[in-house]
Symmetry: C2
Subunit: 405 residues, 2 copies
């Protein structure tokens, strides 16, 4: 008689964005005449850049001709893409990463969900609170988080690092030393960043305690300030303690095209000298079969001269939205943060409303969809996330509606 | 101090096809003038069909225009694709599967590796021997297989169902009842099939014992005989005991394009009434982010009139290769099977050679790459797999070289 993995049953409710989707769908069905503006899920709206489209067409044509047709991709991804990554994301920033430390995947969500598999179940994880739900949920599914306390919204075996207004939304070094530390900067959901000096402290802490940092840099392209690191490997010693997750979703609009990569330096080893790079290579080879050739070709085009120029324009477009939201809400008397090095604006709900109450209020009164801060963890209660990924027209309309409330 | 998942260290050697790749690379480097023909890994060689290429181009163009741009896909996959699957793969065969029982993914390898996650670690798995390595390896990584005996090549906690010449390469119902039964028909690697009546016995056995069958039907398109089932749901009662894995890799040449799907009927429940469909939906929503829109669009085109005609021609092309290999080797005195309802030919090595000795022999003397049967499990020892996925020209050349040995 088979038995299910009952860790799944411990998960409270459904995945945050599924819940939001259902609520919005129900509201739209009840109010078919209302024009809903979605600034909730962090999905992009600008079409793929012309250079990328052109490369996609060329790659599609290659797939239709025997001589240039591509079957299974190499385990770690095509060399042309991994070379472009190494050159542009690392070498250009003075960081030495080799191409066999780069694993191409179909996106940072999968990688951030799967990465915990190469660690023992007994490891204790630390996460920021609020946090991108996948880090915690994937550890719940694996059975690494203990029991859930519905009253507090906390898991017994997870170390939480509250990120609130009081500490500038930056996590503090935890008292109990974690084995695995999830960090995401620029942060989803708060839009906060930390400086290179601040991140160096985390790297030193991890090395001193032999912890591993899983560093999610999916929003790196939105950094506008000079002292904010684009990769954790800008910090000394990061190669012996950090895994970095990267994505093409937000810097090049690949949310529906699917491409990402994970960097695991060969110097990152457990106490017995086992290299995590080799474990992830084994997982990649056994349980994954590569991103589509046409998508990898498109990914490489992101690093071309035209690709860089065109995607930079998209980012500027979204950051202009961020500015509009930030200043508009500030004008309206909201307490807001984020939006400077990240496409997310994090606001305090007015009148001590709960995050979900504010969600309902905004949906009903302004027909604007945001994301309740409490959906990202208990310290997100009383906060709310708006994304800059809408169109400019919709962003203006949404902010004007909120201001008019 | 972090600790690794030391189940990974139990895995003997590297993934089969990585090992073959390295051996072939070394041989080619040592013999740059030799023209190697690859009939090893089951990778297709025919370009994508014209109708699919056309749809891909159209979908790429949609991604370049704001109005038709697509971001994140729906959790389970686009409805247009799931409807086409339900209509063509199931309804057309008299099987009633609903679209929310279909989960679109980036391929059957990932699904067959990930599906074990929704089951408890204590479940006992049964596999055919020989078997597609991913079923076993993914369970090893999860810690479900006990200890490995290098002398026998067997895991202590796995139930093996030998498939050899004596039983027509069809597994027999095991004495010890497994919780999870992996079946793959048409079979990889042996190319064998079982009839609908034979499969019905497995379904009845699973229902009687409350076991779950993970049915890999990736090679379904190659079935040429009438009494061989195309889906396990042709059998009565399969919806309460079976998960089906399907792929676009072999029926439409998507090995480098990446698309597959898993069917989990809502009636499939554990003893406490928990539906596996809901668990997989949760995993899909939490740890996966959908196949690319352009690839899902291309997948739907496989079911169009032109798509069906063109992919049928590709399959006929490969099956003509299979026939050539089968009869050529038979003429040369080899004992061969498979190749009738599957693109794989399974041959007995001559003179009691081991599978790897025959691999080396064929590589060195005929410059032909095949797959050692022992790489698929101990009962594969003394056997060897050749695939029909090469070009016709290369297939003829390879067979003629083997005949000339």
């Amino acid at each position: 008689m088979f038995k299910i993995n009952d860790n799944y049953l411990k998960l409270p409710g459904s995945y945050l964005f599924s819940t939001i989707g259902k609520k919005v769908k129900a509201f739209q069905e009840a109010n078919p005449d209302k024009e809903i503006i979605r600034l909730g899920i962090g999905d992009v709206t600008q079409p793929l850049a012309p250079a990328i489209i052109e490369r996609l067409h060329a790659a599609v044509s290659e797939m239709g001709v025997q001589e240039t047709f591509k079957g299974y991709a190499p385990d770690l991804g095509y060399e042309f893409l991994r070379s472009a990554i190494v050159e542009n994301d690392y070498k250009a920033r003075g960081v030495d990463i080799s191409i066999d430390e780069v694993f191409v995947s179909d996106g940072a969500k999968c990688d951030s969900g799967n990465i915990q598999e190469i660690f023992a179940l007994g490891n204790k994880i630390a996460v920021c609170d609020p946090v991108y739900p996948v880090y915690v949920d994937s550890n719940v599914m694996a059975g690494r988080t203990g029991t859930y306390d519905a009253a507090t919204g906390l898991w017994s075996d997870v170390i939480y690092m509250p990120c609130k207004e009081e500490n500038g939304f930056a996590p503090e070094l935890p008292d109990v030393v974690p084995d695995i530390i999830y960090l995401c900067f620029p942060n989803n959901p708060t839009g906060a960043t930390i400086t290179k000096d601040q991140l160096q402290k985390w790297v030193d802490y991890a090395n001193a305690n032999h912890s591993v940092i899983i560093y999610d840099a999916a929003y790196e392209a939105y950094i506008s300030e000079a002292n904010v690191p684009h990769t954790i490997y800008e910090c000394d010693g990061a190669k012996t303690c950090a895994i970095e997750l990267r994505s093409f979703s937000k810097n090049a609009g690949f949310t529906g095209t699917r491409l990402g990569f994970t960097v695991i330096p060969k110097d990152l080893k457990d106490a017995d000298g086992v290299a995590l790079n080799a474990l992830w290579a084994r997982r990649h080879g056994t349980k994954y079969n590569g991103a589509p050739y046409i998508v990898q070709a498109a990914g490489a085009e992101v690093y071309s001269k035209a690709g860089k120029e065109q995607t930079a324009k998209q980012i500027a477009y979204y950051m202009n939205n961020a500015k509009y939201i930030y200043s508009g809400l500030k004008d309206a008397g909201y307490s807001v943060s984020g939006g400077v090095n990240a496409p997310y604006i994090w606001l305090k709900t007015p009148d001590n409303m709960t995050s979900w109450d504010f969600f309902d209020y905004l949906l009903e009164k302004a027909n604007v969809v945001g994301t309740p801060g409490s959906g990202f963890g208990p310290s997100g209660e009383g906060y709310f996330r708006l994304t800059a990924f809408g169109t400019y027209e919709n962003t203006v309309k949404a902010v004007d509606r909120i201001k008019a409330l």
